[in-house]
Each structure stands twice: as C-alpha cells, then as structure tokens.
Amino acid sequence: MADSLEFTRKDFPFLRREIDGRPIVYLDSASTSPKPQCVIDAVSGVYQHTTANVHRGIHTVADEATEAYETARREIATFLNASPSEIIFTRNATEGINIVANGLGLMPDDEVVLTPAEHHSNYLPWRLRARTVPVGLSPDGFPFYDDVRKVISTHTKILTLAHISNTTGIIAPVEDWIKAAHKRGLPVLIDAAQSASHIPLDVRALDCDFLVLSGHKLLGPSGIGVLFGKRERLATLSLYQTGGGMVRYHGEDRFEVQDVPQRFEAGTPNIEGAIGLGAAVKWLRALGMDKIMAHSKALGRQLVQGLETIPGIRIIAASAPLESRIGLVTFNLEVPGFSQDALARLLCDRYQILVSGGFHCAHILHHRLGFEGTVRISTHVFTTREEIDKVLSALHELTDTYCR
C-alpha cells in the first residue's frame, strides 16, 4: 500500500473550510486544486515586496521581480526535465494548445489525430482549423489508443492527446503515440493538465514535441499555464500574439521578434502567477512525484473497487486495468428523480462532499456513451482513504434511500 500523504493537509488552509459548520471533503481537484501556504505566500509576496514589471524595469525591485519570474521558469523546467528556454508561460493549458494549433498553419484538409475522450480545449482549437480524426472508443468509454497507427494518414499533421483524460482518469500510452508519430516525422502534443499533478513528467524521456499544463490544477494560481515545446518545433510556430516584451527591435521599416520563449509572451505576463506556480512545483518535487503517483493510484483503485459495488453504476473506462488509473473516477449512477448534476449537488448539500457533475468538457465522450452527464470524483495529494470511504458510503446511502 502507498504511503499516506495525510501530513500534507496542514499545508492547505482551504482544507479547513467548512460548509454549514461541517468540514468539507474536497474531491474536485480535477476541476481545480487547493493551494498550499507556500504558494499563497509566494503570490502575496509579489504584492508586498516585489511589485515591478519583468524584463523592462531598470531598478532593483524590477531586477528582483525578473529574477523571481525566471527562477519560476527554471523551477518548472526542472519539474518537466526541460530547458528553461523551452518553457513558455501561458494563461492555461487551453492557451498553450491554441498557440500550437494556431502556429502550425493548418489547412482545412489537414488531419489531427486525437481521442474521443479529449477535453474541449484539446478538441475545438483543432476542429476550428483542420479535420479531427479520433481513434475508436470501447463501449465503456476507453479510447482504443492502439488504433493510432490505423488512423494516421498522409494528411495527418499532428497527434494530440491527454496524458490522463480528465474524464476517464486513465494514463494514456503516450510513448506509443509518440513513437508512431515520430516514425512519420509528425509532432505530438501532450495535454498534461491532469497528469502533472499525479505522475512524474519527463519531456526528454517522453520525447514529446509539445506539452501543456495549467497552473491551477497543479496547486498553483489560476491564469497561469505552461507550454513546453522542443526548441526546433517552437521556432517554426507562427506568432500568436504580438505586443510588448516579445520584440527585440521595432522600427518604421520592420520589427524583430525575440527568441523563444519571450516571443510567445506578449504583454506584461502573469508575474505573480508564474512565481506562485514555481512555488507549487517546488513543493510537489520536494514531496516526490513517485510517491504522489503511488498514492493517487491507490486511491483510484479504492474508488473503483468501492464504486463497483453500487448497483446500477456505470463507471467510465471500467475495463481499464486499475494500475493505469489515477485517483480520478467518473461514473453515471441512476438514482430516480436525480440528474447527475443534482447528485453532485446533493453530495455537497447533505454530506459536504465536493465533486463534479455534468459533462466535464467532454461532450463527445458523453454523447458516444449516451450519458446525460456523469459525476466525477477526483483526488489530490492531500486526499485520504477515509475521505474516499466517506463518499462511497454517502453514495451507498443515497442509492439505498432513493433506489428502492
């Protein structure tokens, strides 16, 4: 059994939050995560001590702000085993994907290979510009990843997939996709929005071309995200936004843009966000991503095994081996008179258990499975076995009360 990480709870002031005078059980980290004190301190520290713009000011505090901002970039590079010059700060994972989708110069006949379980943010930016070609889907919602070689065609321009789907909670065989793509010289984008919090990431080992993540799911602030790109790949992307900070020279006759990463960071960036995210990944690294992964997998196993015993439940990707699942499980539970949203609401109102209800930005997957929504339970480092027991017994109680 994986080590308990319960000792980390003291670092999260939000976990002491109560609703109706009772402590909450926070099982909605796939939506957004609570922040540890070190992140809160890093962000407020910028406002209290280091208020200055970066890469622009000519004074001591501006130097300090720039240094803190670039230290955060190095911290994140270390977290991903990338070089700092390959790390672009974005608003979120969505923006990272849009930068790449926009920058590849896709034509309407070009094809983008993905899975039907992708989040809207890894679907729509591609759909807008090219033809999306998903691999198949099992009856329980597991993408047929190994079909990737069958769907790559001469029109394919890029492969893109969630490292861990925000709906299935299953670790995708991204290495296999990367191998298949590189054999044909195609790039691969990895959406690490969910995986970054749960499993170790190493872009060198993965050999992926692009990788995106969102700070707010990774114990960091909202409004900050990361796009990793191999230098040669980033260099060929067309510009996304233009403005201050991204040009080296701007005259009447011409302008010269900065090298990566600055060329993609037009305008004053989210300085405190980047510094906060730097603190968050440092905190995670100190805890150890291997330990975090073991903990997450153990909770995922406990969740599936517990949920499976509830009559009438349909778990998305129930057939996926448990060792490939993190602490994220989505299911449809028929309780007469309750939509899946209402079920999630009831868990909050009656048990102070916070989960997601709805489509989790994965309408395509839900349509294919014929679900009018699902409930999603998701964990993070601070989640305990007892909390999982609580949500399981609450769901048992609800079905016992309303299903007979």
Binding site: P311, G312, E334
Partner: protein, 363 residues
C-alpha cells in the same frame, strides 16, 4: 452457434477458461459484455488462504485479471457485488449443512443460485442488455426438439467435464446458456488463450470454492462430541461435526487395531460414527431437491449412470420414484462413501438426465 446471436453476457472469473470463452464468442461476431462477481466480504478470517479458489482474498487479483482480459478484448466490463446473496445463498447453506452432519458442495449450489441466478438478475436490473449468458464451463448445452427440453451434455474433454456442477440449472437458465468451451480440450483452450494474446494464458487452474481450510468459513463455535463405534460405544472425542466427512480416515486420533473410518455423522447425537473399511461401501440412498434436465420428471424406474461426488467415477444404478417427489437410487455394485449433502448426478451416456441431493443412506 446461431447467426443471430447478438449480445452475450460472459461470466468472467479472471481465469483462462472464461477469458477464452469471451474471446471465442467475440470472434464469432457476438457483442460480448464481461461481468465478474464480487463475493468475498474480507471478513471471514481467511487471510492466510492462498488464492485460486472462488471465495477468498485472491478475489481482488482475479477481478483485475478479468478486467485486463475485458480490456484486451475491448469489451464492456462490470463488477457486480453479490456479497450478500453469496452469504445467504451459499455460505449460510454451507455452514448449516456441515453443522447438521452433512457434506455440502458449494459449487453445485452456487451455479444455479448465484452465477446463473442472482448475478444474471443483477446484471439485468443494472441495465445491462443481453440475450444470452455464457461461461467458461467445460460442458455442452443443446436442445432436444423431440421433447422440447434444453439439455446439458458432457464436455468433449471428459477429464475437464463440469456437468456435475451444472446439473441443477433450470430449463430457463439452460435456454439462455452458451458454453463455448464444450468442444475443446484444456490444452486447446490454453493454446487459444495464447493466440488471442490473453495474459491469463498461463494462469494456473482454479480449485473450486476455497483453497485451504474450509472450516474457517464456518463461523459457529465448534461443538465437540463423541466418536462412537458401530455398537454405540464411545471410543474418542471429535472436535465438531464440520471437521469430518464420510470415508475419512485421518484425523480421528484413535489408536485401533484396524484402520477406523468415519461411516456416518449423527447430528442428533452430535456423534461421529466409525467402522471398518467395508462399512463405508453402500448401495442405496434417497435423493431430494431433484432437478430434471433431459426428462420432465421420473415417472417410472430408469437405468442411469450416477455420480455421487465430483471425483467419483459414475456407476450404473436404477432410479425409482419415491414419496414427496424424491427418488431412490440403487447401485448395481456398492460404492465408496455415499455422503449426505453431496449431489448425485444422473447420466445416460454423455447426457445429463438430472440431479438431486443425497439425503439418506438406505442399504
């Protein structure tokens, strides 16, 4: 296999047989839905028992194997919790039978009541749609158009035949049953598992029910009593009736000139009756809880081959109708250790005529 077969619910145990059954059906064009039952409640103090039994702490691993197979085959998969049904339908029965001096067979009970009973009902009530039910049992199902009966026949691989455990299935249950392995040998099934790329191809065969000490399941406090000889003299002490079965020689802990065997268990007197080896050879007994498969019922005497426990070599006997819908079975030659509580299954050649539970030894 009918061409119009659409959706088949396959009872998957995580073992090689049910995995191959699922793969075969899929290959034949069926839509296969995998289902595995959870019956282990984790309570019964069997932590030390090794796995490879149906009931025990190895269940978690077996469910994972079933899940992996379903995943490989890209089929829908469900785990259904039948802990309560198994407790009342099998374990309680198992305990009460032992405590009343009988030797039950839990598999004979589990198949009609749980696997092809409660599990199938639960799948239906959970909204899973299917037309047929399949398992990895070695046996063959068919239909006799002459008398409109659904029938059960022995497997081609007689060494693996499991009809003994399926003899209590109802006509309704048999009418939905597909047994894809009936025409294959175990060796062929293992080869197919490799061909289908199933990781469970080399998984060892499971023993039925539990592996290890079954008496740990019996929660009641054991009630020691006397060991008697045939004349009723006390010759020793027993630890509780559940620890003994007819024909047993070991564990009596009595020094005697001739080897002593258990010849009967008397629950009324809480006594173990012992005798010599010839005393455990008997000819005639009554059977109750009859289930007829190939015939509608027993109206007159019938010659059949009768098997009185799973490892017994069937022997010729005459079945005669008796009171209360029971029957008498009389072997042509006396048989070793006819044991109340065990199933007696009747065959004519490879066809299962029916079965009943051994009640009382007559002669």
């Amino acid at each position: 296999m009918a061409i119009d077969v659409k959706k088949v619910l396959v009872l998957m145990s995580g073992g090689v047989d049910s995995s191959v059954a699922a793969a075969l059906l899929q290959e034949q064009g069926c839509t296969v839905i995998g289902v595995t039952m959870k019956i282990w409640d984790g309570k019964t103090g069997m932590e030390t028992a090794t796995h490879h039994g149906c009931y025990g702490p190895g269940e978690e691993e077996d469910i994972e194997d079933a899940r992996r197979t379903a995943h490989n085959l890209k089929i829908d998969f469900h785990v259904l919790d039948l802990t309560k049904e198994y407790q009342t339908g099998v374990l309680d029965y198992f305990c009460s039978e032992y405590l009343s001096g009988r030797t039950p067979n839990p598999c004979v009970r589990c198949n009609p009541n749980i696997k092809f009973g409660a599990l199938v009902e639960r799948a239906r009530s959970s909204g899973i749609e299917f037309d047929f039910i399949a398992s990895g049992h070695y046996a063959r199902a068919g239909f006799n158009a002459n008398n409109q009966r659904h029938i059960l026949k022995k497997a081609r691989d007689l060494s693996k035949d499991q009809t003994y455990f399926l003899a209590f299935l109802s006509q309704t249950q048999l009418s939905h049953l597909l047994l894809p392995l009936g025409d294959y040998t175990k060796v062929e099934v293992r080869e197919m598992a490799k061909r289908f790329g199933l990781q469970v191809a080399d998984k060892p065969d499971s023993q039925n029910f539990v592996c290890g000490d079954y008496t740990s399941i019996i929660q009641a406090k054991s009630n020691p009593g006397s060991i008697l000889d045939k004349q009723g003299n006390t010759i020793g002490q027993h630890r509780g009736l559940q620890f003994y079965t007819i024909g047993q020689r070991k564990g009596l802990e009595i020094a005697a000139k001739q080897p002593l065997y258990v010849i009967a268990l008397d629950a009324d007197r809480n006594a173990v009756i012992t005798g010599s080896k010839p005393d455990i050879y008997k000819n005639e007994f009554t059977v109750s809880n009859l289930n007829w498969i190939a015939i509608e019922g027993l109206r007159e005497s019938l010659l059949a081959n009768v098997k009185i426990r799973s490892a017994h070599d069937e022997a010729r006997a005459v079945l005669t109708p008796a009171d209360n819908g029971n029957a008498n079975v009389k072997f042509e030659e006396s048989q070793l250790a006819i044991t109340p509580g065990q199933a007696a299954v009747f065959y004519q050649e490879d066809v299962v005529i029916g079965g009943g539970i051994i009640e009382k030894i007559l002669t």
